[in-house]
């Protein structure tokens, strides 16, 4: 949730980068959203369309890359995808894990003209 504030922060980052590069318009914005981040793409798109009106990013396409939740076992160092309800290591069965991916919320890159 909080897609409104997050989308505004994302647009601020994009416009800052576009202005630094002297761009006239932003064509594409590539975002990385982790499965554990809680952000809903449809909501981001909805707020985005509203907030970019009149800016360099008006009309830009949002492209989402989902980052699956992964963890590293603290016991045997195996890295694996997290299953629902069961965050234990599939190799050694230990429960002591460290989340290594899935909480991301990044602007990866933008394409400008």
């Amino acid at each position: 949730m909080h897609e409104l504030a997050i989308t505004q922060s994302m647009i601020d980052i994009v416009l800052e980068q576009a202005e630094k590069a002297g761009a006239e318009r932003v064509e594409t914005i590539k975002l990385a959203v982790g499965d554990l981040s809680g952000y809903v793409e449809e909501s981001v798109q909805f707020y985005f369309d509203f907030l970019v009106k009149g800016t360099l990013a008006e009309g830009a396409t949002l492209s989402f890359t989902r980052v699956p939740a992964r963890a590293r076992c603290r016991n045997c160092a195996r890295v694996f995808k997290l299953k629902e309800f069961d965050w234990s290591c599939p190799d050694c069965g230990q429960d002591s894990i460290e989340i290594t991916a899935g909480k991301e919320l990044f602007v990866e890159s933008i394409e400008v003209e």
Binding site: H2, A21, L105, S109
Partner: protein, 216 residues
């Protein structure tokens, strides 16, 4: 033309949180972020903690609510410095709110800062504020399935206090299911059954808290 950005959208909040953490360290203040559903017992836990540690540890409190100063007034009666944050609709405390609150406190007069987050099992887990440890107050009337439904919260915290443990005989709460569910999400977390009403388990909570303070 493609421009690589690789910027974390939450970086603004995280940077302020790091600043808060550094300020607390500079003043030797140990901060605990207390999170829970509404009514689980965050304020009760804070009151019990203050009453038992008064005279031994200098405590300060930050209260977070959407509106009202009910909690700050209640805590203020215990004679400790307290600041009330009203988010005005926001469902969690963020680093900027905490930074402002810290600016309204005399940090050199405090050793332990108890931060009561907004009652919410979802969002507080997503926003760093600069604390040293995170506490979840779960409670028996909420049911034993909460770890399945809110894995991020249960995975993020350093200790789970199962409050209202004295009500278990009257509820369909299965402590074994609860314990197993938590272990599947966060193996290292300690779980203490407590009751702020009867006093059960409060000494274990305080022992854990004081150990965290001295081990920092």
């Amino acid at each position: 033309m493609e421009i690589k950005v690789l910027k974390n959208i939450l970086s603004a909040n995280d940077e302020i949180a790091e600043g808060n953490h550094a300020l607390l360290d500079k003043n030797n203040v140990f901060a605990v972020n207390i999170m829970a559903s509404p009514g689980a017992g965050k304020t009760s836990l804070i009151l019990e903690t203050i009453r038992r540690l008064k005279g031994r540890i200098r405590i300060g409190v930050i209260e977070g609510d959407i509106t009202s100063s009910v909690d700050a007034e209640t805590v203020g009666k215990e004679g400790v410095p307290v600041v009330q944050i009203n988010t005005g609709g926001g469902c969690h405390l963020d680093a900027n709110m905490i930074r402002n609150a810290l600016g309204n406190m005399t940090l050199k007069d405090i050793e332990l800062l108890l931060i009561e987050n907004v009652g919410n099992l979802v969002c507080p887990a997503e926003f760093t504020i600069g604390d040293h440890k995170k506490v979840l107050v779960s409670s028996t009337p909420e049911g034993h399935d909460k770890p399945f439904k809110y894995p991020l919260m249960f995975n993020t915290v350093d200790v789970v206090l199962l409050n209202k443990a004295d009500l278990m005989p009257y509820l369909n709460f299965d402590p074994e299911i609860f314990s197993k569910a938590i272990k599947g999400i966060n193996a290292k977390v300690e779980v203490f059954p407590i009751s702020c009403t009867s006093g059960q388990g409060i000494e274990q909570w305080l022992a854990w808290l004081l150990a965290q303070m001295s081990n920092r």
